[in-house]
């Protein structure tokens, strides 16, 4: 039983450590962000507490030190420094190692870090800070107790200082700082009472603020903030009642007594934006509207945060896999039902079958949705990678990410990590130049690597671009010739950029003259290519010398269920993934044969395309029909035609892997079971396309 809890703790801690890393890196970017500091403190505090509870005393003791330092940081006793962030990142790693490999030898690193945190903590106070344990603890408990009774509430605060406030020596901004300490705060300054310059007394205060604060510390804590300015300002604090819905602007304005409900009702009949109308009719002024908007946003964000914390559930992924399997079976069964009902021609059954089909389709999409994860978590891992690598290599590099919310199947994301690591390592090591070299070239000292993801049909495009040196055609060519990857009878000029860049993906290729610990051992890019191929994706490289390199990975959204096009050759059925199908054309066999004498090419929408007869390729027996059909597919971004006997139609395909016995079958990526129980093979379009190209090459150059 205890073990089960320990597992749960490890899982929770691993998650906390993950976010901790992101937050530390964020803090490095924005050292004054109090929220981040508090979040780090809370993460450390949670890890410490649960570690002690489950008997990980060493972790608890170690984390306590880090927590201490962040507590001081939170109270402004010590500043954020690079040493601190470095040490905390290392401490994070140590805690992680302690969790995952309890037997690892990390004593030395721990002692080093212990010393470092001690000196960080002593930097300000001068005396031993660690002994504050018991009192600090009990205070914390008090606070927690309070929080429980008061609960989390949102307050609307109107703070209108009297003109004398400045002369009194009070800086209103410091009061706002104090409010930030209490919880999430939205602020809007009201500037409408400021007089004209000619009538202004520069040392009087004419500003006012509307604030929305969400806190569990209670209304007294807010009043305490304003205690010294009670006589110098008008302060109104009122709790916003908890509502499940985000309020409309009109309601907020009524709450605030700016407009009456009748006015709002009257105005809402007009379909224009209420804010504009109220201003136009001089019922409210623009700042009232702004302020109401800010409040709306504050509540909305708060609600989102609560939604996230309250409505997620942790499920082991194997249960999800089982669910997906079952849905797959259901999809197959549904296809069978549809077939049976079609042959029976019975009205009642057809209606049921159609409704069932709709439900199954929805069920399929929802189930797939469960397995979808935003790619952002993977992206965030690379921040650390780039940071560590660049400091190791003495380079200055920023990582920009975009499209973190793009969702991909969990299994796909897992398989993507390795290729992305390789590509980013390459960019850091070979792409981005050293700062001095960049300055010489007139580029900014800091290099940039950007990582973005976006949906494009049934695919996700992941682009990794850097503003580094770019790829050198000549060097890649020379290296490829040297390694025997390409014959030197083919002149460089005859090769397109694409051809040259594809050479990089050949096994054993590496142009970097110096092998570093980071990359350059000649493994890497071929691994990238292999992994992406295995996901059914493709890699595209664009590069211009001196400007940088773009690598685009095209990855299918999911691996388990696809929409396919069912085709027949002889008595055999095949499925072509519908996402790559461009169109179908009919063709007479004698016309084809005529063409085959020279090269297998057909004209399709004013373009000349190569084609392959699947009948020949898969050696299907039987007579060739007089009229055949060609399915045009986009394989690796270049169209190819597949000759089949008949196109049957689209078909929801549950992919079943083929056994080891069939591993060697070229051009087949899996199988599926049709409604009537027969098996259809799923063709591997990319593989077939390259086979077609090979065939072409042989025809052009007969040995």
């Amino acid at each position: 039983m205890i073990d089960k809890f320990k597992e749960a703790f490890k899982e929770e801690a691993a998650e906390l450590l993950g976010t901790l890393e992101d937050q530390l890196l964020a803090l490095e970017q924005d050292p004054n962000n109090h929220e981040t500091i508090s979040a780090i403190f809370r993460a450390m505090h949670t890890i410490k507490g649960s570690a002690a509870m489950f008997g990980f005393d060493e972790i608890s003791r170690f984390t306590h030190q880090v927590e201490n330092v962040f507590d001081m940081l939170r109270n402004g006793l010590i500043p954020v420094s690079k040493t601190l962030i470095d040490a905390t990142l290392r401490a994070r790693d140590v805690i992680n190692t302690m969790l995952t490999e309890p037997d690892a030898d990390i004593m030395q690193e721990m002692i080093l870090l212990d010393k470092e945190f001690n000196s960080l903590a002593n930097a300000e106070k001068g005396s031993a800070p660690i002994e504050q344990g018991p009192t600090g603890e009990s205070q914390e408990k008090d606070r927690e107790q309070n929080a429980k009774t008061e609960g989390l509430l949102t307050y609307r605060i109107h703070f209108a200082p009297k003109p004398e406030l400045f002369k009194n020596g009070t800086n209103p901004l410091r009061l706002i700082d104090e409010l930030y300490e209490l919880g999430p705060l939205s602020v809007i300054a009201l500037k409408q009472s400021i007089p004209l310059l000619s009538t202004l007394d520069p040392e009087s205060c004419f500003l006012a603020w509307d604030l929305n604060l969400t806190t569990d510390k209670g209304i007294d804590a807010i009043k305490d903030v304003f205690i010294f300015v009670e006589d110098l300002a008008r302060i109104e604090i009122q709790p916003i009642e908890q509502v499940d819905e985000v309020k409309r602007i009109g309601e907020i304005l009524v709450d605030r007594g700016i407009a009456s409900p009748e006015v709002i009702e009257h105005i809402e009949q007009d379909k224009r934006k209420i804010g504009e109308l109220l201003v136009e009719k001089k019922i409210a002024n623009p700042e009232d509207i702004q302020s109401a908007l800010v409040e709306q946003e504050h509540v909305k964000q708060l609600k989102e945060r609560q939604d996230i914390s309250s409505s997620t559930i942790r499920v082991p992924s194997n249960r999800l896999d089982a669910l997906v399997d079952l849905v797959g079976e259901l999809v197959t069964l549904q296809a069978r039902l549809a077939r049976t009902s079609a042959s029976l021609q019975e009205g009642g059954l057809t209606a049921i079958s159609e409704q069932f089909e709709r439900l199954v389709a929805q069920l399929r999409d929802t189930t797939m949705g469960i397995r979808m994860l935003p790619i952002g978590t993977t992206f965030n891992r690379f921040r650390r990678l780039v940071r560590d690598l660049s400091s190791e290599l003495g380079k200055e590099i920023d990582l920009i990410t975009d499209g973190e919310e793009t969702e991909l199947d969990k299994t796909v994301i897992e398989k993507l990590t390795d290729p992305l690591v390789h590509i980013i390592r390459n960019s850091v090591d070979h792409g981005i130049e050293a700062p001095e070299e960049r300055e010489r070239k007139g580029k900014p000292r800091r290099g940039t690597i950007s990582l973005s993801a976006l949906h494009s049909g049934a695919y996700v495009l992941i682009r990794i671009s850097d503003d580094g040196a770019g790829m050198n055609r000549e060097r890649i060519y020379a290296k490829a010739v040297e390694k025997g990857l390409i014959s030197d009878t083919i002149p460089l000029a005859s090769l397109s950029d694409q051809d040259i860049f594809q050479l990089v993906f050949a096994p054993g290729f590496s142009t970097a003259t110096n092998v570093t610990s980071v990359s350059g051992r000649g493994v890497g890019m071929d691994v990238v290519k292999r992994q992406i191929d295995s996901l059914g994706g493709s890699v595209l490289v664009e590069s211009s010398p001196g400007k940088g390199t773009n690598i685009t990975l095209k990855i299918p959204l999911t691996l388990a269920i696809i929409d396919g096009l069912l085709v027949r050759i002889g008595n055999e059925l095949y499925v072509i993934p519908l996402s790559v199908v461009d169109g179908c054309v009919e063709i007479k066999r004698d016309e084809l044969q005529l063409m085959q004498k020279s090269r297998s090419l057909l004209t399709y929408r004013q373009r000349v395309l190569p084609y392959v007869a699947l009948r020949d390729l898969f050696k299907v027996p039987g007579a060739v029909p007089a009229i055949e059909q060609i399915v045009v597919v986009n394989a690796m971004d270049s169209p190819v035609g597949f000759v089949v006997d008949q196109v049957i139609g689209d078909y929801q395909t549950v992919i079943k892997p083929l056994g080891i016995l069939f591993k060697k079958n070229d051009g087949i990526s899996g199988a599926t079971i049709l409604g009537d129980g027969t098996v259809a093979l799923i063709v591997d379009v990319n593989r077939l396309a390259s086979l077609a190209q090979l065939q072409e090459a042989r025809k052009v150059q007969p040995n």
């Binding site: 007089p195 000619s198 201003v279 700042e287």
Partner: protein, 112 residues
């Protein structure tokens, strides 16, 4: 302070607080009496407190009332951007004086 064809460019520097409010106020008043077009370069301002922000807002109103030109110019330092957002003077960070002015004027539409 530089002058070019009836346009006055003022340049403020450093961390501006209430102590500088009076001298800067006088500088602005003089500028308004001297010319009809004033640019205030804030690129060297590291931070400002509420009294200085109030001063700039007041100048916008004055320009509007008199039908004169008063504009902000220069890049806004990161520290200043952060404080302006933190204390509710901006809804989102702006990196140039021009964009900052635009946001302020949109907020003030009709209230000027």
């Amino acid at each position: 302070m530089t002058k070019a064809q009836n346009t006055l460019i003022l340049e403020w520097k450093g961390n501006l607080t209430i102590e500088q409010a009076s001298p800067l106020y006088k500088e602005l008043l003089d500028a308004f009496s001297e010319t009809a077009s004033i640019y205030l370069d804030i690129s060297k301002v590291t931070d400002m407190d509420s009294s200085i922000i109030q001063l700039i807002c007041s100048a916008f109103k004055e320009a509007h009332a008199q039908g004169k030109e008063f504009h902000l110019t220069g890049t806004v330092q990161t520290q200043l951007q952060t404080s302006l957002v933190r204390y509710g003077f901006l809804l989102r960070a702006e990196s140039s004086g021009e964009a900052l002015e635009k946001q302020w004027c949109i907020q003030n539409q009709g209230a000027l």
